[in-house]
Symmetry: C2
Subunit: 561 residues, 2 copies
């Protein structure tokens, strides 16, 4: 029926050997599954592997125009490239196609012969109809316990500290416990160092190799998959989501660039399939980037890169969500939204170090609901004898470290430049900055203007590259007054506060900016600039001589000034 | 001398076996090199491989606080973590360090013993001093023949067509011929399809596996390295540059994202080492992206992504150069600069399809020297009776397809809206757009204003995502009047002109923009909008019914209108 063969072997013999190999492989898989399901032992099954070696271009024309084709690189080209003009090419094409004996297979009418029709799978067994390729059909919503049970009690103080990922990890343990067959956590070997270790109270790392007595939290089955390859992790989670399940990939911010191209393709898949009527929604792909650019003190410059956000923002707006959690309670509320979402990519950035828990749980929920808003408690209280209803300056921030610096800067202003009316705006949902015409989450111009004013200076302290904020806001009325601080590729192995200073996102620099941008202010406070510069220099001096930040920085609390 | 051993084996026995293995391996390498250099046969040598298996934490404390350490995961932590407070920890640390017998090795004074000193390498054999780790020390400039010999003769017509990469490939063959030991071309299996096949007149693809009679341009040695893994290619070229040689990596624009993270680290390495006094400059890393977003007609949406530029621009400005060659002669002049450069990353984007060769070789050289400039021949000739010295509108472009559309749009305007004074500006060196204070290539504000005006509408047709042009120009005086067209993630398998229309970068859309932005123009030409829209719809209709672009589009020549 077909011509050719492996090194001249009769192809029918190869076909029969292939059929036997397939039968053997299916039997081996059945046996391995039966053994595993019976719970007998924990030996790793050796999965069958079929190696099929055939000549490249097998069954096609062996020689065209006197040149060998079969089993050469020419079989990868279009060897019969002139069928319209060249009768010999046309003859060879006809001969090749006729070698499949189409009349016997399909009859004169084109209907498949009965012997073929009997082989057809039916219903969901058809490749085009299997629910495993349309995962939304078998997807069920996650059972999510109340995240508020893991809230940090701030006691209204703004000074309680907590690790954002630690609190989230406790709730995540609930998620894994309550969804034992439909949720997995993926990551390089950083589950513990990212402070998600509470999950090990309810599950283990899945491990297929040898188990030792000294191993901790390794087991034959477990809902945590750790492997130091972001490529593998991304592929595993994509497959898990596409087949109707749920998961999170947690990794280093700088190294998530490794999967830029895979993220692109997943986003393109979501875009290309969103208008296909029969496709059901799948769970959103959730990235948790918790070892981020500002806290790579020990790893240094090679680990400092917040540019994944720029790659993400380039994809179509309705596909991507970016959340920068400023504290522990906010991260809980962000994650509750992200895990309920479908058909998007969710990028969540949150710190793992202890930081002030600025917001109570109720405040955090409301803040996440709005996506961005003024933190009145951090700004200047409204003065009844002030005529101007607008602030003199807006200090905006996105990201946990920039938020800390911004709140501290506002605190300095309230104590040392008390006549300045400052508004502190925190942005959780970054796409709020974009115009509503471009992103479904975007603020309308009115909403944006209400928060950022149309004519007051805005100093925006940003987690990533400053240009991203400009990119998102360049159409806003007040854009010319928005001055963005962010990562400027100034990095090294140094203290956290020195990293902030190297990139000009620190509290002192922000106050210096306010001095520069609020008209007349520096003239009224002729010594302020030198004083701020002096404290900045002293902080650097301390960091460089002691190898750690000054207690005035590490011990600072809201309200101290 | 040291404690521990492999599964309890005496460590001295392991040491002796390791020494023997090293001697054997070096002898095997010597023999393989001698055989290769004698030219005897072309058998592939089997390189020796030593597998050393030792317990994790070997020679360290075996048990700490009653918990096993050696050969467990605890050896990867800090097992003796309380030496200041815990006398037992301190004792164990002392015992461990003393096990190396430092007194015998270094004496009481700390001087290495004579037996150790005799082992020390000297001069360039020291690891810290080897020139192979400071490649600039052994780097020599490339011998570059005159690229002008491969110029397209445009005969002053603007209508001669040529493939940019084909012409460059001819010059590249000279480069390879003239630098047989210091230049390599790296890429996936696309040297031919990127139209660089002229190189195979002087060299072959290097190939270590079996050679067949039917193979073309495969050989045991050759200056072209093809492997379908951008990761491998990036790593190979980095190593080649770092050891003092030269090269180019050519690949698909969409898939160069695969090495985003490796690009980042190479750029960081360049940044981190540029102030080290003893390090000599190395050749710049040159990317040639020639299968780009706008010409993926057959591959479709998955192959359409121009976002590598956004990743590149985030690195420190002095490290990166981006060149978008609008035609064949420009690419030659761009590449001549790129191959002479040191200590940067050069990203060059150029098409491989036949396109108009707009510029003569002299014009192209002058244009590349400026980096961006007005193409007077494409705009409106100055009218002696016009009072206004400035154009009514600036049509700017960067990239070969946007340039074609822009020149065609200006042509339509000159024929159909003759009273509009239009200036065509082409940008080769993208960083010209950025402020000179941010990028060493950047235009001063005066230079920028001279080209783009301070108050006239600018319609900028861009190769990549529109936001990148905004990011680079947001500080410019005329920024509010710059309207950017570019890739909007609208892609599919369609004709080239339909791709342009899907993303609104086509000639008709540009003229529609001019109608919108030039005050009073659309009122004076009430039918123009409908006419342009009609032609656009007709072009789409033709593409969708015929599967190819309308002859009016494919056959358009400059001057036709």
């Amino acid at each position: 029926m077909v011509a050719g063969g492996l090194d001249g072997e009769d192809p029918m013999k190869v076909h029969r050997r292939m059929a036997t190999a397939l039968d053997d492989a299916l039997a081996a898989i059945d046996a391995a599954q039966a053994a595993a399901r019976s719970g007998a032992g924990d030996a790793r099954p050796a999965w069958p592997l079929i190696i099929l070696r055939t000549p490249k271009g097998w069954t096609g024309p062996k020689v065209v125009d006197g040149e060998p084709v079969e089993n050469t690189w020419r079989a990868h080209q279009v060897p019969l490239d002139s069928v319209r003009e060249n009768p010999e090419h046309l003859r060879q094409l006809e001969q090749w196609l006729a070698s499949y004996d189409p009349v016997a297979l399909f009859g004169e009418s084109g209907e498949p012969a009965a012997s073929l029709a009997a082989l057809k799978p039916h219903g969901d067994a058809r490749m085009s109809a299997t629910p495993f390729a349309n995962g939304g059909r078998i997807r069920t919503d996650l059972r999510l316990s109340d995240f508020r049970a893991h809230a940090v009690d701030t006691a209204g103080s703004r000074t309680v500290t907590a690790s954002a990922t630690h609190g989230f990890g406790e709730w995540l343990a609930d998620v894994i416990r309550d969804n034992p067959d439909t949720f997995r956590l993926f990551g390089p070997d950083e589950t513990v160092s990212n402070k998600l270790d509470a999950v090990f109270e309810v599950t283990d790392r899945v491990w297929a190799a040898r188990l030792l007595d000294t191993d901790l939290n390794l087991a034959r089955s477990g809902r945590v998959t750790e492997v130091l390859s972001e490529h593998l992790l991304q592929g595993l989670l994509e497959g898990y989501l596409l087949t109707g399940r749920h998961g999170i990939l947690n990794t280093y911010e700088a190294f998530v660039h490794i999967v830029d191209s895979m993220f692109n393709q997943h986003a393109k898949w979501l875009e290309a399939t969103r208008d296909i009527e029969w496709r059901r929604p799948i769970s959103s792909f959730v990235y948790l980037l918790s070892s981020h650019v500002w806290r790579q003190d020990h790893n240094g410059f090679s680990h400092q890169d917040p540019g994944f956000l720029d790659v993400v923002v380039n994809k179509q707006a309705h596909l991507v969500r970016i959340s920068l959690a400023p504290d522990a309670n906010t991260l809980l509320a962000v994650m509750d939204k992200a895990l309920r979402d479908v058909d998007t990519v969710q990028v969540v950035i949150a710190g793992k170090q202890d930081q002030p828990a600025w917001l109570s749980m109720d405040e955090a929920e409301a803040h996440v609901q709005r996506g961005a808003g003024a933190w009145d408690w951090a700004g200047t209280p409204g003065s009844p004898d002030r005529d101007d209803p607008l602030p003199d300056v807006v200090l905006a921030c996105a990201g946990d470290v920039p938020t800390l610096e911004t709140v501290a800067a506002a605190d300095i202003i309230r104590h040392e430049l008390p006549e300045v009316n400052v508004r502190v705006v925190n942005v959780v949902d970054l796409m709020k900055l974009q115009d509503q015409r471009e992103h479904p989450h975007g603020f309308t111009d009115d909403q944006f203007d209400e928060l950022f004013t149309t004519d007051r200076p805005v100093v925006f302290d940003f987690h990533g590259y400053p240009s991203l904020v400009h990119q998102l806001t360049y159409r806003r009325h007040n854009h010319d007054n928005i001055h963005v601080r962010g990562f400027q590729e100034k990095g090294t192995t140094t203290t956290p506060f020195d990293m902030a200073m190297l990139n000009d996102i620190d509290r002192f620099k922000l106050v210096l900016d306010v001095l520069e941008y609020v008209p007349g202010l520096s003239a009224r406070h002729p010594d302020a600039k030198a004083s701020l510069q002096e404290r900045r220099d002293a902080a650097r001096e301390y960091a460089y001589t002691r190898g750690e930040d000054h207690p005035d920085i590490t011990g600072w609390e809201f309200g101290q000034g």
